[in-house]
Every structure is written in C-alpha cells, then in structure tokens.
Symmetry: C2
Subunit: 524 residues, 2 copies
C-alpha cells in the first residue's frame, strides 16, 4: 500500500484532506503521528486537532463550518458534523483594498489564430447559423447536416458549421425587465470571435424575437454597414433567411435558401488563414463542474496559477459562477482594481441573492450529491475551492450575464453567471471566450461546439479511466509528481497549442452540449 | 378578382374579418352594401357598424376591446384603435353551471396501435433514452447516431430511437418548491405510451437529479418490480447506465454500455405488433402556434368539432396554453363537469397570474408581432380564437404542468401549460399524449420526435406554399369549400390514420424540435 497522504491548504487549517485512492482506513498512522479514528474516504477531511463543539473548522484559512459536536483529532469531518456559516452581508465589504500584485509582464508567447476585422482573434474558423427562435431549429439542423455533407468538404479551411439552436425567441415575456439577458446572450454569441464576424440569421417570421431586435443596426462590427436610419439604400441588410417569406414554396426551398446563404459565408471564411498573434489575444473562460475536494487542491489552483500567467501575458481571463463566489465575496471585492469594480461585483451578487430568494432558495442550493460524496461539505468549502481558479491578479472588470467584453478589456474579469455548467459556458461564449478551461473531479463529458474546451482532471484515477476525455491531469499534483506551478505552465502551453488548432478530446469525438440560455423572465 | 368575403363569428358581433387573399382595398363594396373606408388586410377586422368611442368591440360575442375613438362603419379596426379589457377576476366565477351537452356516443371507430402492459396504447414504437442531466446529452447523441446506423436496421418493427435530452438535472435549485414541475415532466415523458414502457436511463453520477429521484420505485407501471423497501434482492434494478461508474474506461466503453442496454429494449420493442384498438385509446393534445385571425375561424373551430367527436368516441383530448385561456376563464369554469374541476382551473390560473407577476408581466405578454400582423389585436381576441379548439364538451379534469393523466381519465381535460409551443408540447407529452394536433396561421415547421404532430393550416395560401409541411388545410373553410363539420370529420379520420402509422410531413422530413422543460424555479 502507498503511504498515507493528506493535504492541508493553509498552515492555520485544522483539517486536511485525504489524497490516497480509496481513502484511508481507521487506525492509519499519518506521518505526523496522528491516528485515524474513522475510515476517511478520498477527498474527505480529517480533523488534525480536537475540535470542540462550535469550533470553526478552517480550510483555505476560512471557516467552512462550525462543529456541531466535539470532534476528536483523527475523525472524519463530514458534512453532517458541520453547521454552515451564514452568507456574508453585502454591506461594509472591503472595496479594492488589496494592491494589485506587482508582476513581470510575460512576453514573447504567441499562438496561431484567425484575426477578425474588429481586431479580435478566433481559435477556430466556424460558420455559425444564428437562430431567432426554437421554431426554426429543426429546419436549421436539417440544413446543417446537408451543409456538412455537401458543402464543407469543398471549404477545407473552415473547421465546422454550427447551428446556434436555443429554446428562446417566442412564448416568452420578451418585454419583461429580465428578458434583456437571454436576448443579448443570443446576440453576443453570434458575434463570438470564433465565427469570424460572418453573421447569418434564420428567422421564422412571426416570432417575438424579430431579427432586427436580436441584431439591431450597428451591432455587427465592421461588416455591419446597415444604417441606424434603416431605409438607407446604401446599408447592407442583415443577412436573414425568413422561413415564412412567401418566396418559400415547399420545405426544400427553405433548405436551399439556408444553403445558398451559407455558401456566401463559407467562401469568405475559407479564404482566411491562421497567423501568429500574441498570447494577449486569448480570451479564456474558466469553469469547474462535477467538483470534488480535489478540485480546490489540484486543478483549480493550477488554473489559478495559469490565470496569473495569462494576465501577465496581457490576455483576458474570465471566472464566473455566482453561487460559488458568493461566500468569498469579501476576498473578491478586496481584490478589485477599483471601488467601481468592487461595487459591480456587489451589484451582481445582490441581484443573484434576490433572484434566488424569489424562487425561495439560497446559494446553498448549489451543492450536488456528487460534491458531498466527493468530500465537499457545503457551498462555503466548495466556493473556496472554486475561487482559486481566479489566481491572485487584481479583478479589472465585471460583466453582467450575457454581456460582451469590450475590445480593450483585458486582465482578470468577473463574468457574472450561474454556476450551471452549460449556462456558464453559454454566457462566457457570449462574453467573447475563444478558449474554455473546465476542471472536473467527478468527471463530465462536457463539450461545446462553438469553442474548444480543455478538460482538466483533478485526480489521476479519473484521468486514467477517462483517458480519452480528459485533456490534462492535474491529479499529478496530489500524487506529488508535479507542483502547482509546473502544472500551471503545462496548461498555459497547452492553451497556446489548442488555440492554434490542436484538437481537444471533446472536439475529436465531436462531443458537444446544448447552448443553455439564462432566462430569469417568465415564459408565456 | 374574387368576390369580397368576410366572416362574422356571432350574429351579435359588430366586426367581421376579411377572408380574401391580400385583403380588400378601400372602396370595396361588401355584399351587405357596406363600403370599406380603408384597405383591410387579410385576417383583419372591419367595423360593420359605426363604433362610437368606448363602444365594446364584439367578436365571438365577447368584448375584445373598447374603441379608443369613433370608428365609422367600414373602417379597418386594428389594435391601435382598441383599449384592451382588464383580466377577469378569479373570484365569483360561474362554477360548473353549464350542463354537459347530451351527445350520442360514437362507436365503431378504431386504429392500429401498440398496446402497452399498463393498458395504454402507443401510436409509435420508439426506444426513448431518458437522461437525468444535460451533461450526458452529447454522449447519448453520439450513441443514438450509432444505434440508428448499426442496430435499428436489425429491428424493423421499431420506428425510431430518441434521446430525451433536456437542459435540467444539475445547476438548478432542485429543492425549490417549483422544481417539482421539471422533475415530474422528465419522469412522465419517459413513461409516454409511445415508448412501450421500456425505460432506460443514462446518468452522469454526480448530478442533482439522481436516477432514483427521477424514477422512484413504483413509477414504472408493470415493468417496475422495484420495491419501495429497496434493499430487497428480488427487485429489478432501474436500468441505468452511469457514465461515472468505475467500470467505464474510455469514451467508447460508455457508448458500448448505452448500446448494450439499448439492445435489450430494442429486442422487446421489436417483438410488438400493431393491433386494432378502439378510438377511445387516443390521447390527443391540441395546440396552436404562429396564430393569425384565421386560427380562430377555420382551423381551431374544426379542431374543436373534432375534439367533440373524440370525446364522443371515448378518447381523451387535452387543451392547454394558460395565457390563451385566461381571458375565457368564465366560459371554462362554467363548462367544468364539477365544482372541483372548476376550482382546479381557477387554481392553475391563479398560480400562473402570480408567476407572471413575479416576472413583472401579465397575460398580455403572450401576443407576438406575427399575431398582430395576422389580425389579432390583443390577447383577448387571441384567447377567444384559441379556446374554440376545446369544442363544447364538459371539461372533466385538470392537470398541473408535468402531471400525467390517470389511466381512467377520459374526455376533455385542461392540461395547464404555458402557451410556448415547445413547452406546451413537452408538457402534453408528459401528460401521456400519443397524438398531437397543431394549428398554425403564419406557419411553423414544428415537430416532435416523440409523437406524431398533425399540422393544420388555417389558410389555403399557407397550405399551398407549405404543401409538404402542412398535413391538412382548414383554409378550405374560409374558401367556402368545406364546412367546419366536414373539416372536423376529415381531421378525425386523419387522426385514426396517423395513429395507425401513417407518417406526418414532419416525420417524413424527420423534423423535430427540442423538448423544452417548464422550470419556474431558479438555476444556481
Ligand atoms: Ca463550479
Ligand atoms: Ca460550473
Ligand atoms: Ca422487491
Ligand atoms: Ca396558441
Ligand atoms: Ca402554442
């Protein structure tokens, strides 16, 4: 048997987690001499000292709960022994109090990307077909299959054709105050750098989300020459295939229209070539899902280290997941680059608190059975392990759900999103993400058709079993084979490779999940 | 030019709608001698008499609005000239006051269906793959494609293989009070009669919606021999492929597991044959979408007549769409078969009023730009045209969103759902629908993979242009070629044909929309 291995995140912590595969049996003697009083499963916590009732249980140097009873040293500290701390009030927070860490810029790192007319850079060269409404999704799916089969082979420099299907667009309260979120999300996804500025829209005709409401004049950078004054004959019309147009006679005429328009865009996309661009053109969205106690020990700290490298290289890194940062709000407002950024963080948290309250739940609704099984006692512990993905840079900006980054926005950005994997990924796509990093402890076959997803395993066991789904194994940190820094650098180099065209496992299998919109407004 | 044709729904109405293609020009003399003062577009209303300001504008013998100014006879009565009536209070309604119409039972009508072990009857013989969470959707999609290519040709009596993908299952507030709706919806869809009682589930492992929570012991009729007492070795386990199971090594092992389990069910489904069953085994969901003013004049009245035939034949007919019945609530509570049924209607309306109010909108958020363009001034007029789909039978039961019909429930049922086409269709599938009838005026390529959808055009122009998307042309009523009764009978006979295996247009093109869950609870 391998020797007992426990990981303590901070020297002041009074618990550590068990790293060994299969956990450690009762009676195990740790290197410190401590004897386990219970079997402690892998990823779960052991009390390093006696914890009298009401003691704060510290991990990441933060109280993740209070002992509900006396817990002797060597005991398994599971969620049923802990009382969860209340959520931090949103008043009186430290605002932009931590000075930005002084760090050497990282220069000379580049990747091979597709430079767009608006200056942004794609990591893939994809034809995306924007849809105003779910009504057209079946028709677009049919057309996309034919385009892939009949047209795509003739355009070898185009990576893929993707229908941006979603469930929004009609049967929704489109004038409700919160409807702005799903609408701008669909709009901004169609402007994602991986689609080369080639916007084509398929519309039904009678839907609430009319093409001109989805894509008002002026939103398509450079390519959009439509005039705000509309009737102007010089303006290019928005490229819309409207199924209800009277010119369409029979189903195949609709398919023909979509294919004819697709060809125009495929021609232009096919003429593009990758070119050398600085690493500062990366827009990386980081996320975790299917988390376990190792997420916050191996994969997420390595992502955090890599996030710092990216920021030093002048790139953009977005972290997200409202319910997983809520319990660390004081750390984050302190790290904001200005009081305005800190206030924007607070505004997003307050909005989400109110949203959850309307549905009669709170942030603790985040945790899953798998989290608990994996050793995460509650949302506070999960949050601390999630936030480390953000590294240690100053937070330089905040995006509301569905908002798009401005061209000048660089550095570490908080993109406010639910923690739901698909909703978070969808909103990061809308923000302009051209590369996605996703850490998982329990394992998920998550993928997106719109953007490459680098999947990071938190444990070697998962990386071994899911050898053709996990792109990188941060479990090597727990195994003592690599340091967090080494793993962070490995990720950074892999990001440059994948951004340059190297396929991820999900891409190789063409595994992709649905776009899932965040619609806090009612359906009708 | 064809002679001017207008349609008045009730002799007391003070407006009629123009039926002619392209509308009627200013100066047209109607057969009554009335001269049009404006061009009136097709489907739009003309004032039959002078309407002084504040006059109630009557259609279907119901005030659909009040004149905002004096409107002379012969004018085009569009939505900008009308003030919408407020919503009817939910107190003091007539409860079960209208006696059930006495009607001859219809006997001797049958179709060829698949009889299930629980007594229900499928109109198709489909293998459905239930999913606990969106995380597995990409893997299931990959597996379904392989099953269709490699296995399905060996099982000629199985119609199709369908992955029941949805966006629920994790990243949601699963213990929120309203979360019961999406959960029971996914559960009940998997029990739809078209799936033959063969339930197979693909689960990730760590998701919130665990397989045993989705499908607790006892929910699978007959086939489910699991015991509420659980640990009992005699019980058949729920058939679950769990991707995180340690037995899975590599992506292809997951695909193999899904295919291996699929074979077991395909074998059993393939041994089934259609048999003659009475028309009373039909469970028809009726819906309208992309509506225009003809919806309430041609297609919906014919559906209503057909609904009465179905009820006379002992079948089940569900109508739905909360925001489209809200303004007719007094008619509907009056038609309830008992005060309890009327109270259930009121309960659903009150719940939905509150739901919309939480999102700061009301039932008027229902109407679309296409509705208005098609001549529907507001939700009151739209509602009156929508409700006629229910025919004139007594309302014998009410289902909450996602609920499943009891085996004994027959007759006309109000299945409370949003009006959103996909959400309504999804909830009717959960209720146990084995045949769907969908009327459309503006035109939509709507389809479902789980159940045949008969699409009814409200206008001949649409039926001509969309000749391979519309299954039946109710526009013949406006053309004076068929009566509502004749069209209703034609629909009834087509339903028996389609239920017996005749393919609809959407099935021939394999056009299908997404399942869209109704989740009024927060995401996390
Ligand atoms: Ca997470
Ligand atoms: Ca997540
Ligand atoms: Ca048993
Ligand atoms: Ca409708
Ligand atoms: Ca509808």
């Amino acid at each position: 048997m391998t020797s007992p291995l426990t990981i303590q995140m901070h020297e002041a912590d009074n618990v550590a987690i068990v790293a060994n595969d299969g956990g450690l049996p009762e009676g195990t003697v740790l290197p410190s001499g401590l004897v386990l009083r219970d079997h402690v499963p892998q990823g779960h916590k052991v009390a390093l000292v006696d914890l009298p009732a009401d003691t704060a249980v510290l991990r990441y140097h933060v109280p993740i709960g209070y002992a509900l009873q006396d817990i002797p040293a060597g005991s398994w500290v599971h969620e049923r022994l802990l009382r969860m701390p209340p959520a931090r009030e949103l008043e009186g927070l430290p605002m932009a109090t931590v000075p930005a860490p002084a760090r050497e810029p990282l220069t000379g790192y580049t990747f091979q990307g597709y430079r767009n007319a608006d200056g942004s850079v794609g990591t893939r060269n994809i034809l995306a077909i924007t849809q105003t409404v779910q009504c057209v999704a079946g028709v677009v799916e049919f057309a996309v299959e034919r385009i892939k089969r009949e047209l795509l082979p003739k355009y070898p420099h185009v990576d893929d054709v993707v229908g941006l299907a979603h469930t929004y667009g009609c049967g929704v309260a489109i004038d409700a105050p919160d409807a702005v979120i799903p609408i701008r999300t669909v709009r901004n996804i169609s402007l994602n750098p991986n689609f080369g500025g080639e916007v084509m829209v398929v519309s039904l005709g009678c839907e609430k989300l009319q093409p001109e409401r989805l894509m008002p004049p002026g939103v398509i950078p450079i390519a959009d020459r439509r005039d705000a004054g509309a009737a102007d004959a010089q303006g290019d019309p928005l490229d819309v295939v409207c199924l209800q147009d009277t010119q369409h006679v029979g189903f195949m005429s609709m398919i023909d229209s979509v294919m004819t328009q697709a060809k125009v865009h495929l021609e232009r996309l096919n003429s593009r070539r990758r070119e050398t661009v600085p690493a500062s053109e990366l827009v990386v969205g980081v996320q975790c899902g299917g988390s376990d106690a190792f997420s916050g020990v191996t994969a997420n700290p390595a992502v955090g280290f890599c996030a710092d490298l990216l920021v030093r290289a002048g790139a953009t890194v977005m972290f997200s997941e409202n319910t997983e940062v809520r319990d660390g709000i004081a750390q984050l407002t302190a790290r904001a680059s200005s009081p305005e950024v800190a206030e924007a963080m607070v505004r997003e948290m307050a909005w989400y608190d109110a949203y959850l309250q309307r549905g009669r739940v709170d942030r603790s609704a985040n945790t899953t059975p798998g989290n608990k099984k994996g050793g995460l006692s509650n949302i506070v512990e999960k949050a601390m392990g999630s936030i480390v993905k953000s590294g240690s840079s100053a937070i330089s900006g905040v995006l509301s759900p569905g908002d798009k980054l401005a061209r000048h926005q660089r550095g570490l950005i908080y993109a406010a999103t639910p923690a739901s994997d698909f909703i978070c990924g969808t909103l990061q796509l809308a923000a302009g993400m051209n590369l996605h990093v996703f850490t998982t402890g329990r394992g998920t076959p998550y993928g997106l058709a719109e953007c490459p997803v680098i999947k990071v395993a938190t444990r070697s066991d998962l990386a071994r079993r899911w050898h053709d789904l996990m792109d990188i194994n941060a479990g090597q940190i727990a195994d003592g084979e690599k340091s967090i820094e080494e793993m962070g650098w490995e990720m950074f180099r892999m990001m440059l490779d994948v951004a340059s065209g190297r396929k991820t496992w999900a891409e190789r299998h063409q595994l992709a999940n649905a776009l899932v919109l965040f619609n806090p407004a009612p359906v009708t």
